[in-house]
């Protein structure tokens, strides 16, 4: 996966962030999306570390040991910020108060099941906040590469890895496509420029219906 492709996914994911939204961004590609929030969109980043209203540090600032995001990276507060405990952070997350959560993914399937916390053969280091986020946010968008590093599909009929959440995903954004989870199964809404529908279908194990208003991904 090239840096360029990751950035393309992040750029498209950033379009999911609407004005006035409270948003949680997972590590990796989702966190990248913060850089590409469309002009004029004012959104508030919320972290399970216990802060809402933060952003990247100015590069001249070396950070504050007491203030990190969920990836333990130092951040800066933005005006209107507030701070709270972990209990309150998760009450907020689980209680449906986040408008949007963008997470990474290992696998997504036709019913919106998500697997993104445990890989076979790797030691498990924990669950963290992703199960709460996946089941608590009003809208869950997965931003991930379309295929595994071994070029296997990640959008499947059924997830085979241990699940993070059952039927939690609303939309998947990859370098090839934007796909929605609907009660009738997966619907292809957008394809990347210079990518054919056939190619997306080939790289996707799950069945895809094609939106009659199919669009080209704009980033």
């Amino acid at each position: 996966m090239s840096k360029h492709q990751r950035e393309l996914i992040a750029r498209r994911a950033a379009w999911e962030i609407q004005n006035g939204f409270y948003v949680n961004l997972g590590p990796g590609i989702p966190a990248l999306a913060a850089r590409f929030v469309p002009e004029g969109v004012e959104a508030v980043l919320v972290s399970e570390s216990g802060v809402q209203g933060f952003g990247p540090l100015h590069h001249e600032h070396k950070g504050d040991r007491d203030l990190v995001d969920a990836a333990n990276e130092p951040v800066a507060l933005t005006p209107g910020a507030s701070l709270f405990s972990s209990v309150d952070a998760y009450a907020m997350i689980r209680g449906g108060h986040l408008d949007l959560c963008i997470v990474g993914g290992f696998q997504v399937d036709e019913r919106g099941n998500l697997a993104n916390w445990m890989l076979p053969g790797r030691m498990v280091h924990g669950i963290g906040g992703v199960m709460d986020l996946a089941c608590g946010a009003k809208r869950v968008v997965v931003a991930m590469e379309h295929r595994t590093p071994a070029k296997k599909p990640k959008i499947l009929r059924n997830c085979t890895l241990p699940l993070t959440g059952l039927g939690v995903v609303h939309r998947v954004i990859t370098e090839l496509a934007v796909i929605d989870v609907t009660p009738q199964g997966l619907v292809l809404r957008e394809v990347a420029a210079e990518v054919s529908v056939d190619e997306v279908c080939r790289e996707t194990e799950a069945g895809l219906r094609v939106d009659k208003d199919l669009k080209i991904i704009q980033v």
């Binding site: 570390s49 216990g50 100015h58 007491d66 203030l67 701070l83 405990s85 209990v87 689980r94 963290g128």
Partner: protein, 231 residues
């Protein structure tokens, strides 16, 4: 009312082998590092530690792991920690993983006198294995039970002799909830202030929850006045 114990060693002297201890902290923030160091020095073993994470190799709970003082951890996310990996691989450390929000809520239930609660988190995943499930209005929930401990190690920015505590930024994290859920809560404070100098409206942890207050001898971070606010 004076809950101050100036000496770290004395503050933890009654912790015995086999104790269950909650320890605050999220990443590098709000770790009761001085209490943990004192527990390393004391050498207490067979501990059950309830914590969000496992510190790093040289900070926080990592030190206790390296010292083979921990028998079991109830934890959300240990991150990259080689000592931890080796202990688990050799069967020398039992682990119970909890989703982070469920861990927080279980501790809250323990402190708030609740018997259990239904959370949607983890339904249909291995985090819900062998747990009761139940549905309301088409939504599925898992029954989770409260957590309590013999001791809680808390890190606060400021504390007074009544045990009233204030935290700073994301160093708050699990500290306030853990303060409520132990038989004996011990708070190390970066700054011990006079009774009456904290604004009652701004206190995060009321003194009722805190048995002992210890000035922290050393803080891994330099205390700073204010986090950066971008304009």
């Amino acid at each position: 009312m004076n809950k101050v114990i100036p000496d770290l060693k004395q503050a933890i002297a009654d912790i015995q082998d086999g104790a269950t201890i909650m320890m605050g902290g999220f990443g590098p923030c709000g770790i009761p590092e001085n209490l943990i160091q004192a527990l390393c020095d004391q050498g207490t073993r067979q501990l059950t530690v309830i914590s969000n994470n496992a510190g790093t190799e040289d900070l926080g709970i990592g030190l206790l792991l390296r010292n083979h003082q921990v028998k079991k951890m109830i934890v959300s996310d240990v991150g990259q920690n080689r000592t931890f990996e080796e202990l688990v691989r050799h069967g020398k450390l039992q682990i119970e993983f909890c989703p982070q929000g469920t861990l927080a809520e279980r501790i809250r239930a323990g402190g708030a006198g609740l018997g259990g609660f239904y959370t949607p988190t983890g339904f249909g995943t291995i985090a819900a294995e062998n747990k009761e499930a139940r549905a309301w209005n088409g939504r599925h929930y898992v029954l989770e039970l409260p957590l309590r401990a013999h001791f809680a190690f808390i890190k606060a920015r400021k504390g007074d002799p009544f045990g009233n505590l204030m935290y700073r930024a994301t160093a708050r994290n699990f500290n306030p909830v853990m303060a409520t859920a132990a038989d004996v809560t011990i708070a190390e404070v970066e700054e011990l202030v006079e009774t009456g100098s904290l604004n009652p409206d701004e206190i995060h942890t009321p003194g009722i929850y805190v048995r002992r207050v210890v000035p922290g001898a050393h803080n891994a971070k330099p205390p700073r006045a204010e986090p950066e606010v971008r304009k």
